[in-house]
Symmetry: C2
Subunit: 147 residues, 2 copies
């Protein structure tokens, strides 16, 4: 009797790979739009989180925008130079630094938001309304179940 061929699944069937591939593609598209304003995706995320007007600590921010602490510190350094955001020492816990968005940052953030909305709309068109919201739902619950 011949062994059944232990068919090893190709890499394209792994969830990790599909996620990486989809992420890469969607990110590439978004990057392309935001490059009109010369801003990397991560900076848009930072501006968007800060645009609630509240102060956010570096740790909080790093989690929210999916960056390591040192990487975030250096990116924030650049954004401070560009006067998009500014640092304030937290008066209640002086180990912490609170980040705020500047007026210039708010103006830029609005432009970026509309570029991003363009993309979302483009996805809705080509991919469909229902699959999009279904995909979002599934991704949220995957993330939940991973904690």
């Amino acid at each position: 009797m011949a062994k059944p061929p232990k068919q090893n699944s190709p890499i394209t069937e792994h969830l990790a790979y599909l996620l990486a591939q989809a992420n890469r593609e969607i990110n590439r598209q978004l990057e392309l739009r935001l490059s009109k304003e010369g801003v990397p995706v991560e900076q848009w995320r930072i501006l968007k989180v800060l645009s609630d007007g509240n102060g956010h600590s570096m740790g909080e921010l790093a989690d929210a925008v999916l960056l390591n602490h040192p990487t975030l510190t250096k990116m924030i350094d650049r954004m401070v130079s560009d006067t998009l955001v500014y640092r304030v020492q937290d008066p209640n816990d002086r180990r912490k630094v609170l980040m705020f968005i500047s007026d210039r940052g708010k103006v830029l953030c609005k432009k970026l938001n509309s570029l991003a909305v363009d993309q979302e709309e483009h996805i809705l068109e080509s991919y469909g309304d229902k699959p999009t919201s279904e995909l979002k739902r599934l991704l949220e619950s995957l993330i939940d179940s991973s904690n």
Copy 2:
């Protein structure tokens, strides 16, 4: 009449963000497993693609494993040093280099595959069978619709 507050959707609702977050988390888990063999995820992908025994050009490989050409070149340099893969000039088109997996590479790849399968099983358990295959289906069709 007060304007309705133009509620700007938080970043956590954007598809691009959800994909990045899910990808980061799943990739982190996979990295953790593969680190048992001291191998980065990208090298596992390379080995897996090459394990069909056929020669693959650098361009083909770069597409398949989601890496830029120069990044791939340098990663392959390391893997050649580790005798996991080797280069052969394509006899039919001498601009190309064909990559092959070595015996050592095959042995390592098998170990890595089972570590990756562990992870997939862990996801199936905590996230569920049906949501997983549904998510895969949606990701594939998103990727399709983006080309």
